[in-house]
């Protein structure tokens, strides 16, 4: 069974069954990464294009390695330095990719909905690798993958997502995913970094970090982008760390076996202390490995996993 869809644009429109399928497939992909020879012929002859309108070393490398482990041909286009500078529109770029024979386009873009725009215009599949402040579905999936491995389940958990929710595509994908499993999702952050209307989704919103952490099974710490401070959305890094930084003392309110996640790269000493980041409670490096496995699963299920496509 494959995914009966051409594109992966967000967790909002995935069913729980589809997420289960991706996570189960990622388990078997995870084994490939541990092998001495990390290569299977599954996607041989398939062409995957990495189309990144925003710099991102981690996500781009993760997708590239995932594609290579599955023997696909990968072309990375650093658009920021090329066609955009020459004034080429996304539509023209899409048409070019189409005629070059791309089977799948992995896209990172600073505008929400940009991958949806592309997906409607390409016969090839599109994977959203982060669109503006909207979604980052493979990050959401790898977080779910890591939680499921550590906790053995995705239901009935209390998960606290902490930090800049307003600008976080990771937070939105996590929220969609976790709510589909019936977990209790809390978001906490400064009032200036919380978007409106989250309560309507069934998320608990608080400015009181301790309330969010009280009895939490999982704490997902978001990266603070320091340019937000320059825009005045919070007064200083120092103040942020004092009120919102995750420290061992703060974690005392959580369950004993709390799991700490962070999408990286971390600002150590700001949103998370090194004591927490390097402790057995944190799964930050496991997330990175899981990320490759999840992306292998997504590529496999969209391109070669027996799906009918659309």
């Amino acid at each position: 069974m494959g995914l009966r869809r051409k594109d992966l644009l967000g967790l909002q429109d995935l069913t729980r069954e589809e997420i289960d399928l991706i996570l189960d497939t990622a388990e078997s992909m995870r084994e490939i990464i541990d092998r001495p020879v990390k290569k299977v012929p599954t996607l041989r002859g398939k062409v995957i294009v990495n189309l990144f309108y925003e710099p991102s070393t981690r996500t781009r490398n993760s997708f590239e390695l995932a594609a290579k482990y599955l023997s696909a041909d990968v072309q990375s286009v650093a658009v920021a330095q090329s066609s955009v500078q020459k004034g080429e529109t996304l539509l023209d770029t899409a048409r070019n990719l189409e005629v070059m024979g791309a089977d799948l386009v992995i896209m990172r873009h600073s505008e929400g909905g940009a991958p949806h725009f592309l997906a409607r215009r390409l016969r090839a599949g599109v994977v959203n690798a982060g669109d503006g402040i909207h979604e980052h579905p493979t990050q959401g999936l790898l977080d779910l993958f890591t939680i499921r491995r550590r906790k053995g389940r995705l239901s009935g958990l209390k998960v606290a997502i902490v930090g800049d929710i307003l600008h976080s595509r990771v937070a939105r994908s996590n929220i969609w995913g976790l709510l589909k499993y019936g977990s209790e999702v809390w978001v906490a952050g400064p009032a200036t970094l919380l978007p409106p209307g989250l309560e309507a989704l069934g998320v608990h919103v608080t400015h009181d970090l301790d309330e969010a952490l009280d009895g939490a099974d999982v704490v997902n710490v978001l990266r603070i982008q320091l340019e937000r401070q320059q825009k005045g959305l919070f007064p200083s890094v120092h103040e942020y760390a004092r009120f919102w930084g995750i420290t061992p003392q703060r974690l005392a309110a959580c369950k004993e076996d709390v799991l700490v996640l962070h999408p990286g790269p971390m600002n150590r000493g700001v949103e998370i202390t090194s004591e927490v980041a390097d402790s057995h409670r944190a799964a930050i490096l496991e997330q990175v490995t899981g990320g490759v496995a999840v992306r292998m699963a997504v590529l496999y299920l969209l391109l070669g996993g027996g799906g009918t496509g659309e």
């Binding site: 909002q12 529109t89 539509l91 929400g112 409106p196």
Partner: protein, 433 residues
């Protein structure tokens, strides 16, 4: 001598107290007779049985894009769209290239319209030179050349002192200052209404406070100067309330609302799949805001419906949502949308719609409103309240087709347009083009 006989329609002119079934005989540019069973063998007859004959509709807020962006629209194409949409006159905003900020350019529009336009064109002049918000443009010279009001639309007048001076100065010439109310420090580069649906869609939010803070400022400045401020494209509930209170105090403030803000909400944006035809400034607001706009229009707090007809070339819209240009076309859909969304549903009386789209727009500009009276200039719109139609891009005569209503079925349409006695549209088709 040209003659036109509008036969058997329901004549409805709320301001003149007219509501009767009768014939209208138009001779040259004026209404020559109104009565039952009028006949004139020399007259072209328009069968208006089952239709509503009203004073001609006027759109206070239209981007004709000429000079400078004629590939999007020009005076000829924009006024043909207006004629098709049931309008007898449109007011052209001056954010063209170059900006219409002097008398020579006002005259250019007036003269070009006299040669090419299908309906009347009343130009606005810019409030400030180059619409930069710094120095007043020559408002008196432009008024003398035919400018019916002043606006920097497309740009808010950010400095309160400049707005104060503009209101004081324009008052001398009996012209309103029409303001695009937006505090850009609050709207930032928001792509849609700031709220639950911007959170869901992951689009940057445009805070309603950006408008409300500016409206409150404009109202206070109008109150202090005695000038007349007209708030363009009001979009939020709190703006409506600020205007309502100001009017109660006797402040010279008038306001307009667009058909799209009356018919659509931010939920429609989120549900559109990032369709850039749903991107405009101000953005489509919440359902509560929409309700307040309808209530404000119904009780007269909002004076007019104006389209903010903003044509854009396909290339400006076939891009990522956040990068797309703001604005939608509206001339050809306005009457249908208001009839369908508001009148048919009982939210707005037909009488109030006619006041808001015909009488009040003229009054806002200090002009004599069109009227169904013998001796009045024959500017007439005929409405078909029952016509069922689908908005299709291929049917549009505007150069641009960036409408959020494409594919939508509407009930109600303009059936004929008469401009100064000349039939320019009948049955949805332009006459004489």
């Amino acid at each position: 001598m040209s003659k036109l006989l509008l036969k058997g329609g329901r004549l409805l002119d709320p301001r003149a107290g007219v509501d009767r079934v009768a014939d209208v005989l138009i001779t040259d540019t004026v209404i020559a007779a109104i009565g039952e069973d009028l006949t004139d063998p020399a007259a072209r007859v328009v069968d208006c049985r089952g239709l509503v004959v009203t004073p001609g509709f006027i759109d206070l807020h239209v981007h004709l894009r000429e000079p400078g962006e004629e590939w999007k629209e020009d005076i000829a194409s924009g006024t043909r769209a207006a004629a098709r949409g049931g309008f007898v006159a449109v007011c052209a905003v001056p954010n063209t290239r170059p900006v219409i900020d002097n008398a020579a350019l006002v005259r250019f529009v007036v003269e070009k319209a006299a040669r090419e336009a299908a309906v009347k064109v009343w130009p606005y002049g810019a409030v400030t030179k180059g619409q930069k918000g710094e120095e007043l443009a020559e408002l008196g010279e432009m008024a003398a050349a035919g400018a019916v009001g002043f606006t920097d639309d497309g740009h808010p007048i950010e400095r309160a002192e400049v707005m104060r001076l503009a209101l004081l100065y324009a008052r001398q010439f009996g012209r309103p200052v029409l303001d695009h109310a937006e505090d850009r420090s609050l709207s930032q580069d928001g792509a849609m209404h700031y709220g639950r649906f911007s959170t869901l869609a992951g689009l940057r939010g445009y805070d309603p406070l950006a408008e409300e803070v500016h409206v409150a400022r404009d109202v206070l400045l109008a109150e202090a100067t005695g000038g007349h401020v007209h708030i363009m494209h009001v979009s939020t509930a709190r703006s409506v309330e600020i205007i309502r209170q100001a009017k109660a105090r006797g402040v010279r403030v008038t306001a307009e609302v667009t058909p799209h803000h009356l018919a659509l909400t931010d939920e429609d944006v989120a549900g559109s799949g990032y369709d850039t035809n749903f991107k405009m400034n101000p953005p489509l607001r919440s359902a509560e805001d929409r309700e307040a706009l309808i209530a404000g229009l119904a009780d007269g707090t909002i004076d007019c419906v104006a389209t903010d007809h903003a044509p854009h070339h396909r290339d400006d819209k076939e891009v990522e949502f956040g990068l797309a240009k703001n604005g939608v076309v509206g001339l050809e859909t306005a009457v249908g949308v208001v009839l369908d969304a508001l009148v048919r549903t009982g939210r707005l009386s037909l009488e109030r719609m006619i006041l808001a789209m015909s009488t009040r727009p003229a009054e806002v500009l200090g002009l004599r409103p069109p009227s169904l009276r013998v001796g009045a200039e024959a500017d007439v719109t005929v409405l078909d309240l029952e016509k069922r139609w689908i908005v299709r891009a291929e049917d549009m005569v505007s150069r641009s087709r960036n409408s959020p209503f494409l594919g939508r079925e509407l009930v109600g349409a303009p059936a004929a347009t008469v401009v100064s006695g000349r039939l320019v549209m009948e049955g949805g088709r332009l006459v004489g083009w």
